[in-house]
């Protein structure tokens, strides 16, 4: 004997989907797809944040490299010239220990940095809104300190931007591939479902069911599978972000993953949207597939 469940008519299933093997493995496959799509999206957010951070810091700074053998008075003259330049907010000569710290990731602690003929570095802060004539400034500095190099970081930032655009392209292609895979899996599952339940579908037709009535059964089932996959995949993505936060801090990763983590509302929004989208895509795919197949039946 079985109890009755008073579900709303649009969610009531006449077809025995719970007996299908697809109901057991599909949510996990969709979960994996959702996880990959969510992590791809989160990666895009982090990459965009990192670019913006770098852009903001580099747009307001310049670096002047002065050869190691240049005398202190000439350096002072160069600093004076910089401070008088319109748009320059400050110019400060980095101390040897600061330069050493910058080189530490490459040279380590064991090397006696002080003994190396390192160039002097001048950290220049500029007003990002100001227009600086770099050609004139370079000529002026060259007349004071020959062979000094004024680096406005733009070529480096351009390279990073180009690289980031490529990474964004790869991630976007990955998300599109994942979406296509969900569509393909649902089409496959819907066709198998139609074959498995053919006798009940024929019965429903003979009892006067419209194609839309039968398609709705598959839609509801696909929505349920998609949402289950969405919840599992979304939870896994949230867990990953949670773990990556402390890990990022521990490894001192130069990305914003160690700053916001799950406190970033955009991450939550993305996970929810991707999870719901999985359900929506699964539902729409099932509906279209089933309606097309049913139209071929007598």
């Amino acid at each position: 004997m079985i109890g009755t469940l008073n579900l709303p008519a649009q969610f009531r299933l006449d077809l025995p989907f719970q007996q299908d093997a697809s109901g057991r493995f599909l949510p996990w496959i969709i979960a994996l797809m959702v996880y990959l799509a969510a992590m791809g999206g989160i990666g895009l957010i982090w990459l965009s944040d990192a670019l913006n951070q770098w852009n903001a810091s580099l747009a307001s700074s310049l670096t002047l490299q002065v050869p190691a053998d240049v005398s202190q008075p000439r350096i002072e003259m160069a600093l004076g010239a910089l401070k008088q330049t319109k748009g320059v907010v400050s110019a400060r000569l980095l101390q040897p220990e600061e330069t050493s710290k910058l080189l530490q990731p490459w040279l380590g602690n064991s090397v006696a940095v002080a003994t190396l003929p390192l160039p002097h570095l001048v950290d220049i802060r500029i007003d990002p809104q100001a227009t600086i004539d770099y050609t004139t400034l370079r000529q002026q500095l060259d007349s004071i300190v020959p062979n000094a190099q004024l680096d406005n970081n733009r070529s480096w930032l351009g390279t990073v931007r180009d690289f980031a655009v490529r990474i964004e392209g790869v991630i976007t292609a990955g998300v599109i591939a994942v979406t296509a895979l969900i569509v393909a899996i649902i089409i496959f599952a819907a066709r198998i479902g139609l074959a498995i339940h053919r006798s009940v579908i024929e019965l429903l037709h003979l009892l006067g069911a419209r194609d839309a009535y039968i398609a709705r059964q598959f839609q509801v089932h696909a929505l349920s599978l998609g949402l289950r996959g969405g919840v599992i995949g979304g939870a896994a993505a949230a867990l990953t972000v949670m773990v990556l936060g402390p890990a990022g801090r521990m490894l001192e990763l130069p990305m914003p993953i160690n700053t916001h983590g799950l406190l970033d509302w955009r991450i939550w929004l993305l996970i929810v949207v991707v999870g719901l989208a999985a359900g929506g895509i699964a539902m729409a795919t099932a509906r279209i597939t089933v309606l097309r197949q049913l139209a071929r039946m007598p």
Partner: protein, 227 residues
């Protein structure tokens, strides 16, 4: 109500199963379709309840030429027909209550109406204690009554029963025909297919007989020949 004109049916290149079948079922009539196993009864019924299309000929249901009708019209016509299948075709994972409610839900009937009417009908069929049972747990006779309840729950204009008396003893078979007669009195046209000519002869209803795909109006003489 139902008019078949020169219906023929063959599957692929096989021999024709039905040959130039013509018959007419009037509104409110009660008919038997007799014929031995393999004579073409089920194929003929399938054509009437729109599960099959004839290879040639004209099928008119409720004044609608079905060959010219679109998919939506076929669905509308099917909703006016109740079918008791030979093998019952109950949905195994649904309860007795939900099996009988199926035609109502398909037609979009309100749940309140389903909650009231389905138990009442099942009570009338003597299944009041079996509402939440699954078909597999019922006896053959009980499953048959569920199938009949599902066929009549929407008060169809035409009720078709394929061998409803095939698997029951004479007493139950007689009771079933009495049930169909009560439904017929409410205005439903009834067509019962049976291989048992002698059983059908016990009633005064009009009989069609099918033999090797050819349908004729049965007569006492024909029955005698059959015997």
């Amino acid at each position: 109500m139902v008019r078949l004109e020169n219906i023929g049916k063959r599957y692929g290149t096989d021999a024709e199963i039905l040959h130039d079948v013509s018959l007419k079922l009037d509104d409110g009539g009660f008919y038997f379709l007799t014929g031995s196993s393999g004579a073409g009864k089920t194929t003929l019924l399938k054509i009437i309840y729109l599960a099959e299309r004839p290879s040639h000929g004209l099928v008119t249901l409720f004044d609608t030429d079905t060959s010219a009708a679109d998919r939506a019209t076929h669905t509308a016509l099917r909703r006016r027909i109740g079918i008791v299948f030979q093998d019952f075709r109950l949905v195994e994972h649904l309860s007795v209550r939900d099996n009988v409610a199926l035609p109502l839900r398909i037609a979009g009937a309100p749940e309140r109406e389903i909650r009231e009417n389905v138990p009442e009908l099942l009570g009338w069929m003597g299944l009041e204690g079996k509402l939440d049972f699954r078909p597999a747990t019922l006896s053959g006779g009980e499953q048959q009554r569920v199938a009949i309840a599902r066929a009549i729950v929407r008060r169809p204009d035409l009720l078709i029963a394929d061998e409803p008396t095939g698997n029951v003893d004479d007493e139950i078979a007689m009771l079933l025909v009495r049930v169909f007669e009560r439904i017929n009195k409410l205005g439903t046209t009834v067509l019962i297919a049976t291989h048992d000519v002698a059983f059908a002869r016990q009633f005064s209803h009009r009989r069609y007989h099918i033999d090797r795909g050819v349908v004729s109006i049965a007569s006492e003489a024909a029955d005698a020949d059959m015997a």
